[in-house]
């Protein structure tokens, strides 16, 4: 009985002493408050056109006696594609796939890449900072700028653009003018699809097109 009573009184006593001492132990706290925000996916717009065409017209010059196509005016069509950063997130990589019109092919090694800043200042991007490859089967020219920051010292910021220029030549030179072309000169349509990345995030693929007419001479 006495033992039980002693235990009953001793245990709370010890608890009180321990908690009293614990209370006496001094503590301090430091707090670091963090507010972190992830970026939005890159956003781009694409426009394209032809640098050396007047009134979007190519003249196909045909020899009278045998209807062989001897040349075009201009000799090659110079194409430009502008890929503009239309979002707030900077861009470090762009890819352009250009589907050349039928009857046309890419003039090898004729690719020029530029970064155009908002004040119109131009930074040339040379190789090896971009690659250009051509699939003759699908007539698709692919140009990739892998690391804009390395190439230019800066990311592609909002409203800045990557301009890609290349030349395409008429594939029917030296051949006879196809039937129907004389009476109905073809209109050629050229499509470009572009995608942009920052780290692992990509923009939506955006497609633009441009067309030009022909005139048989």
């Amino acid at each position: 009985m006495n033992r039980r009573l002693k235990l009953t009184l001793t245990i709370p006593l010890l608890l009180i002493i321990i908690s009293g001492l614990a209370y006496a132990a001094w503590t301090d706290t430091i707090v670091a408050q963090y507010t972190l925000t992830t970026a939005q996916a890159p956003a781009i717009s694409v426009e394209k056109g032809f640098i050396n065409l007047e009134h979007s017209l190519v003249k196909i010059n045909v020899r009278n006696n045998d209807s062989i196509i001897v040349s075009t005016s201009p000799d090659a069509v110079r194409v430009f594609v502008n890929i503009t950063n239309s979002g707030e997130t900077p861009i470090n990589t762009v890819r352009m796939d250009d589907a050349l019109p039928h009857d046309w092919y890419w003039q090898p090694n004729e690719v020029e890449v530029q970064l155009i800043q908002q004040n119109a200042a131009i930074i040339e991007i040379g190789q090896p900072y971009f690659t250009a490859s051509y699939d003759a089967g699908t007539r698709t020219l692919t140009v990739i700028v892998y690391n804009i920051k390395s190439a230019t010292g800066k990311y592609l910021e909002m409203n800045e653009k990557i301009r890609i220029m290349f030349k395409m030549e008429y594939a029917l030179k030296g051949q006879q003018l196809p039937a129907g072309y004389a009476s109905n000169p073809p209109t050629y349509v050229n499509f470009s699809t572009a995608t942009a990345w920052i780290s692992g995030w990509s923009s939506s693929s955006v497609t633009a097109s441009a067309s030009f007419k022909t005139e048989i001479n």
Binding site: L13, L36, T89, E157, S199, G200, W201
Partner: protein, 162 residues
């Protein structure tokens, strides 16, 4: 007999109770006002905290509103990006202490996902010692969460003792 025993136990119990709280109050008061003589434990953030970001398109700021707090804001994380915050903690008391930390999501969040946090906080700090804490916040590669804001606190608790 039992009544006597109860009395004999109750009296010391009451004395110790009062002494326990009295001691606590005394120590607390002494810590507050006469820290040097009684032994204190007090950790403060000293100097100027700094922040660096892994990409130039990121923006990061760190402020130091009082000796026990820093506020860090970083925006425009893309996958693989990270920010590094560096700050000094000084034990301005006279007692060594143990350090622990707790990451506490705020703003109704249950985690700091998609971010990860790491630091080099040591487990102890000596009187007069200044330690430099480097905290790294990372948005791991492969993250798909875009335009997301995450808030959290990192509470660093110091307790006197070794």
């Amino acid at each position: 007999m039992n009544k006597k025993l109860v009395g004999a136990m109750l009296v010391p119990l009451m004395v110790m109770l009062v002494a326990g709280f009295g001691y606590a109050a005394y120590v607390r008061q002494v810590n507050d006002y006469v820290s040097a003589s009684a032994g204190t434990f007090d950790i403060d953030i000293t100097g100027s905290p700094t922040i660096s970001c892994s990409a130039s398109y990121m923006t990061g700021t760190v402020t130091h509103p009082n000796i026990n707090e820093i506020d860090v804001t970083v925006s425009n994380f893309a996958p693989g990006d990270y920010a590094t915050v560096t700050f000094d903690i000084k034990n301005t008391g006279s007692l060594p202490g143990q350090l622990t930390k707790q990451i506490i999501p705020t703003g109704g969040l249950s985690s700091i996902s998609p971010f990860t946090y790491s630091d080099n906080l040591p487990s102890s700090i000596n009187p007069g010692q200044t330690i430099t804490v480097t905290a790294t916040i990372t948005l791991p590669s492969g993250t798909t969460s875009q335009g997301v804001t995450v808030t959290f606190n990192v509470a660093i608790y110091g307790t006197a003792g070794t």
